[in-house]
Symmetry: C4
Subunit: 257 residues, 4 copies
């Protein structure tokens, strides 16, 4: 690890028409939840670790007391049925994004270079689209790097609406989308609508449903549904607390601020 | 895109005595408004994209859902009449400036190097000069990298006054001006007087008028005038709201703070 | 010193099965106190200075008016008795850690590279584990880079508990631990429980006791005990002042905030 | 200017036993005032400009409207009489220091490298020592990079006192002092005692007096004395205003905060 980005390949496995699926932390942790879920419930192999001086300068410590360098991880999942039977998914996960703007660019670029070497034919970046309010039925908002992808994505349930996302797409989800177009690889960013301040398994589920349709996947989402139910309860409690605070403030001051 | 600055040439067009006109975002967005207007209303060709790890780590998403890497863009406009008939303008536009000080230097330097390779004979950098108050008839304040340019610029209506701009010129407009002198290319910075807190098409118009005179250009500025009228209305509303707030504060407290 | 990290070797001494002990500033300065104490009371030789552009851009000035570049220092201590008789300790000390995240990585990496060249067989990184409250009898919390080390460390009195340290280990103590595992060198981080806001010789003593057991060392800790007694007094005074402030606040307001 | 530091030599003049005198901005601008004064009143030649991406990304604009890149400047002054007759002073001036910690190191290192190439035999770095209060007769506090320099400096009126400066010496004055010792060049930092919040020509005069003695210089300091008198008046006014504010606060509240 003498360079600013160091890639450790853990497998020489030959990939078959892989598509890259990025799920790093972000708004509502939607992308990370979705990608981690795929790695957890599908038959996956961890094939590479990406270390970088642009990640936070620390180690994580697992419950057994074993420390691990911060890294991004690439996992391969071979699809076992459906239209893409025998073809591969390459899933990018991690606990942190790069912490400096330059680091964001450099780390995404090295990841894109590696994806290219591994023969990636399409990139899906996953994220959340923060609306600052509770969402009952989250839509999945899309952005593409080639207008020809829109129709197919709309067919898989993705919404495209002028002005969304207005502020652009920040971080790895945005940069991989943009960088893919510089090397002529089609890419789409799938953003599940979410409040934005708490982790949102329901939005992650919505994003996964798009992947299930477009990649003809079979994924057990029981676990994600359970997490979503838990978060709904927590959200109910937060809402009820906020209501109470508001009511008591109104009563004590006699007016609405 | 493996370097810190990557230039993609989109055309091998041979330029004729080009002058570089820089219009990146800044005070009142004056320079950007002026440069974007030239690219929009004159017959322009997009000849290069400049990508950099020093720009914000994100993509923009257009209304059709297509994402684009943040970049600086070079456009060529061939002058069709007047004294510079058949000669080229090279217009530098973009939505962002570099976000770190070092990035500002490096990106400006690469741009200056490219301008030099393209045979640029003169540099005009455009910007706003923030005065913190509403300006009825904005002057254009100038700074040159060679004292011999002053007389010509004064002839085109540019004001030079000791102590202005007192704080120097920050960002690409300043650096390209300074760097041009290191490679013996004459350069001037044209700064339209502006409030500084809202975008100012009127100041942009004033800056364009200087370019029209000095480069013997013909530009339709109807569109810019319309935008200026809109901004005047918004400014009127802001002023009237501020007046009201001030009045009500005075009344409720009984004294002037 | 033309590179970002410059190592000056001050001795060509051949080391015998050295273990690296890192004690740079951190929570409660626990690691630094412990490592400095070893260098002070044992027979040590200063064998290398590590300079870096990632350390603070300043010099320190000693009481005699002589200025010194900020650096990390490597000292060798040959063990004179016990199970490791004739073998070496390599102790890393310094007054500052790198000030940027990238600098943390780069400086730790160069230090790990040097340790590797010097034949280091095991790494101990020392630090504090901040609990935000006064600790009567500090435990030493551990993290390892190889699960096989746990049993031995537990035998030397180190506590391993799921969820501790929950936030991971930041800085050189964490990075050297993680980087060691990338080059297959066993490593443990020893964290003495401490309040976290004042320097804590008692926690440093606890950490040293683990090293004494695991490395079969003999160290006079009288000096550290004296410092610990002084700090206890200071802490008593702070506690008593806080009590007074709390009491007077309660009396003047009539209620407990 | 394609590197992070670019040196433009403006003269091939051969220097005779030059000593480097650094006077960049800092506490009370003491060092800058002293160095600028030497360049102004003695017969000086500007022999080099040092440009860097670590300086602020802007240009300064002179009263005649001509913009200039931010830079550090090296000037040569040949001593015309006294013990060092025929020998050179190399004076480093500038309007800004590097703005990032890494930049501070890199810029100082390149300057030290250049000084070495030019045959510098001794380094004097000039600065202020901020005491946070008005100083009637400023002493000059010293720090050396070799204890053997102390006696000579004390002979020239420099004070050395344990614990001063307690916080070390930050920036170019500190780094050049430290880096000189890495290449075995003797160096001293001369710090004029000053309030620290306003520019202090009196402290600069005190620093110059040390240089006059130690380098057997003849300098007209009339101009610096006049500036010092002006600053004294301004300081008197500030003090009297502060007194008034304090008095009126005391009267209106009835108690001393």
């Amino acid at each position: 690890m003498t360079d600013d980005v160091t890639i450790r390949m853990l497998s020489k496995r030959k990939l078959v028409e892989p598509v890259l699926i990025e799920g790093l932390p972000g708004v509502g942790n939607v992308g990370k939840l979705a990608a981690d879920h795929m790695v957890d419930v599908l038959d996956s192999e961890h094939i590479a670790s990406i270390y970088s001086i642009y990640l936070p300068p620390q180690v994580t410590v697992a419950d057994d007391g074993v420390a691990k360098m911060i890294s991004h991880e690439l996992h391969v999942i071979r699809q076992k049925e459906g239209a893409r039977k025998g073809k591969d998914l390459l899933v990018l996960t991690g606990d942190f994004q790069a912490i400096s703007p330059e680091g964001q660019y450099i780390l995404s670029q090295r990841t894109m270079d590696l994806a290219n070497e591994l023969g990636v034919t399409m990139v899906y970046t996953l994220g959340g689209y923060g609306l600052g309010k509770r969402i009952e039925t989250p839509r999945v908002i899309g952005a593409v790097n080639d207008i020809e992808l829109k129709e197919e994505m709309e067919g898989a349930g993705v919404a495209f609406q002028p002005g969304e996302p207005g502020a652009g797409i920040v971080g790895a989800s945005g940069l991989l989308l943009g960088m893919a177009s510089l090397v002529s690889v089609p890419a789409v960013c799938l953003m599940g609508e979410t409040h934005g301040i708490i982790v949102d398994p329901k939005a992650a589920r919505a994003v996964l449903e798009v992947l299930v349709k477009t990649l003809d996947l079979t994924i057990d989402i029981t676990d994600l549904d359970e997490k979503a139910a838990e978060m709904e309860e927590i959200q109910d409690q937060i809402d009820s607390m906020n209501d109470q605070i508001e009511r008591s403030e109104r009563e004590s001051t006699g007016y609405i601020r």
